[in-house]
């Protein structure tokens, strides 16, 4: 089946998912207590003023009608406007895509750059000291709180040896790269242990297989054996593991965004939840859903591209 038809089919399949999520988030957001008006009015909120603002925001109408309007707007490509700063939600999300996108890709690339060499090192001599070290050290990344890692990186590379900006996203592209390096490294420190574990396991399995014997019998160079024969096969299994974790990461980068002052979609969501800014929460949830679905689709496409045995059905 051609790529296009497969991608088309998968995208159509996601419609029920997106619909399911829109219903779920709409009901949950409207059910959990805490009035947006109460947040908008701050300390002056009296019950009757809250009623006035709720009416102004149109959230005192029955949920079903609100949902229908929400879907109607959706079809016209608008996710509504934020309660607090009256900006269209789509503009708010799009405004943060560059930051989130670069941070995510930076995190993935760095974790691959960390995971690949370390797992090759570990798998080359199973059980040796280097294998134990490679398995033990990244666990520190998994265990330590992200805030701690972020702050330590800032102290070390931001203030003590000012190689990287302490915060912000910069204006020009090179400045973007410099400013997302430390946050991406923080993400990579969390993501790479999971990648190392999966890569190492599949590499050990492959090293025992016969086609590595054939390759060795051919007398081709060790680097070629490692990269062409071992790695190409090992990466296949780890792509799915990476896919699952990237999907999870999209929603949980808020701590890194906060510590490094990179305005991503994670903090947009957290601020909106605290302020009960329904349109933003709904809009960002749908955005997350779309991203996760695309990430899963991309994972499957890469998986099929890497492994000829897998047919796109």
């Amino acid at each position: 089946m051609g790529y296009l038809t497969y991608v088309g089919k998968r995208l159509i399949q996601t419609l029920p998912v997106l619909f399911g999520i829109s219903v779920a988030v709409f009901t949950i957001v409207h059910l959990i207590p805490g009035d947006p008006a109460d947040v908008l009015l701050g300390q002056n909120a009296t019950p009757e003023r809250v009623k006035l603002i709720n009416h102004q925001l149109g959230i005192d109408r029955p949920i079903l009608i609100q949902y229908i309007n929400f879907i109607k707007d959706l079809f016209q490509g608008s996710l509504g406007t934020s309660f607090s700063n009256k900006e269209p939600v789509t503009k708010l999300i799009l405004g943060r895509l560059p930051e989130t996108g670069m941070l995510l890709t930076g995190g993935i690339i760095l974790s691959i750059l960390i995971a690949l060499p370390l797992s090759i090192l570990a798998a080359s001599k199973r059980g040796a000291m280097r294998d134990q070290l490679v398995r033990a050290i990244p666990i520190i990344g998994l265990g330590m709180p992200q805030v701690w890692i972020g702050v330590m990186l800032i102290l070390l590379f931001g203030l003590k040896f000012p190689l990287f900006p302490v915060s912000g996203f910069g204006d020009t592209f090179p400045e973007h790269l410099r400013s997302i390096f430390l946050p991406s490294l923080t993400i990579a420190i969390l993501l790479s242990p999971i990648l190392i574990r999966s890569l190492r396991a599949s590499m050990l399995e492959i090293l025992d297989s016969d086609y590595i014997l054939t390759a060795r019998a051919k007398g081709i160079s060790q680097t070629r054996i490692t990269f062409v024969h071992v790695l190409r096969n090992a990466v296949i299994a780890s792509v799915t593991v990476l896919g699952i974790n990237v999907a999870y990461l999209v929603g949980s980068m808020v701590i890194v965004e906060r510590v490094f002052v990179i305005p991503g979609t994670g903090s947009l969501m957290i601020d909106a939840i605290a302020r009960r800014d329904y349109p933003i929460v709904q809009g960002v949830t749908l955005y997350f859903a779309l991203v996760v679905v695309l990430v899963n689709l991309l994972t499957d496409l890469i998986h099929a591209a890497l492994d000829p045995r897998v047919a796109l059905k």
Binding site: D210, Y211, T214, K218, G219, V228, H229, N233, R309
Partner: protein, 335 residues
């Protein structure tokens, strides 16, 4: 006679297992030169395929050559580190395995796998190596090479996959091909085609063959010499004709009897009772003694050496009265 390309003297191999140190090979010697064709026969677990891997430096991490010599072009390379020995030998020796699908990289096209040695070791350019590969594909009898070049291993049949494995082994134009039961997993008709291919290669390009199998019929068809292996040692070696017609070791004799003979009408198949010994304990006496019909107390205490007898060699105290065995069988009504 010029010195043989590869000659193995008294090779011993130890394997670290969680049941202790296993003496997989206990002193094996043989020579192989281009044009020769040696069959190594024995039950599974006798150490025949480990012998090949030991010579070519393909032993797994938990196994190593403990003693013995491997002469290549007159120089002992047994002590060389595995990787160095592999690099040296890979110009003259190739190897093919039993399960072809497992022996081919599943994610690379067969064409590229065949072209890999010419391209990355022999330094040929991309187009040159592609031509070499296409020629090799035809040479191993795969039709329509151009369209098959870009297929993946899982898209080929068992027989075709084995031919690709052979093509890969031939890509370094070796003088000797080590075969580790390449036809066992194939059905008979495909098996015959692959064997015919090996014979042609031997005849046309003088390819030396070391053929490991448990199937005597295959050895009979393809090999000149035969080495019967039991419990990590050669117990009989000689020409195929003499050994088949006149076995000088009880184990070889029993093997030949056990082999089903299509044209003879036989009521009951003969099988050798008992099983191969566990090589993690030291061997006392002749390992085959417990299952031997010709053995006596002496065989239990010391292990016979490989000595010349008639026109082959045999490691058995009773080998000199091998011609009586056939007679006593007919008496006991078992053919």
């Amino acid at each position: 006679m010029s010195t043989p390309l590869i000659s193995v003297e008294n090779l011993c191999v130890e394997i670290k297992t969680n049941r202790g140190l296993l003496q997989a090979i206990r002193g094996v010697s043989f020579d192989i030169d281009s044009g020769d064709s040696i069959g190594i026969v024995g039950e599974s677990g006798s150490g025949k395929s480990i012998t090949l891997k030991a010579v070519l430096g393909l032993l797994p991490n938990n196994a190593h050559v403990s003693s013995g010599k491997i002469y290549f072009a007159g120089q002992d390379i047994a002590k060389l580190e595995k990787k160095a020995r592999r690099a040296l030998l890979s110009e003259t020796a190739g190897m093919i395995f039993q399960d072809a699908i497992a022996a081919l990289n599943p994610v690379i096209t067969i064409g590229n796998q065949i072209a890999e040695v010419p391209r990355y070791r022999l330094g040929q350019s991309a187009s040159q190596s592609r031509q070499t590969a296409l020629k090799l594909i035809e040479q191993v009898g795969i039709s329509d090479a151009e369209s098959r070049f870009d297929l993946y291993p899982h898209q080929l049949s068992g027989g075709l996959r084995q031919r690709v494995a052979i093509a890969i082994a031939l890509s370094a134009s070796p003088k000797i091909l080590f075969c580790d039961e390449p036809t066992t997993a194939l059905d008979v008709t495909i098996q015959a085609q692959v064997l015919r291919l090996l014979l042609e290669l031997r005849r046309n390009s003088g390819l030396g063959i070391v053929f490991v199998t448990h199937d005597l019929a295959v050895v009979n068809e393809i090999c000149d010499e035969i080495k019967v292996m039991y419990a990590g040692r050669f117990v009989e070696s000689g020409t195929v004709d003499s050994t088949f017609n006149n076995p000088t070791h009880p184990y070889t004799y029993s093997l030949l009897k056990a082999a089903p003979d299509p044209d003879a009408s036989v009521h009951r198949l003969f099988s050798i009772s008992g099983e191969a010994p566990n090589l993690s304990e030291p061997v006392v006496g002749c390992p085959f003694a417990p299952r031997c019909f010709a053995g006596d107390t002496h065989c239990l205490t010391s292990e016979p050496e490989l000595l010349k007898i008639a026109h082959s060699e045999s490691a058995c105290f009773k080998s000199k009265d091998h011609d009586k065995w056939a007679a006593s069988d007919s008496k006991s009504g078992v053919k």
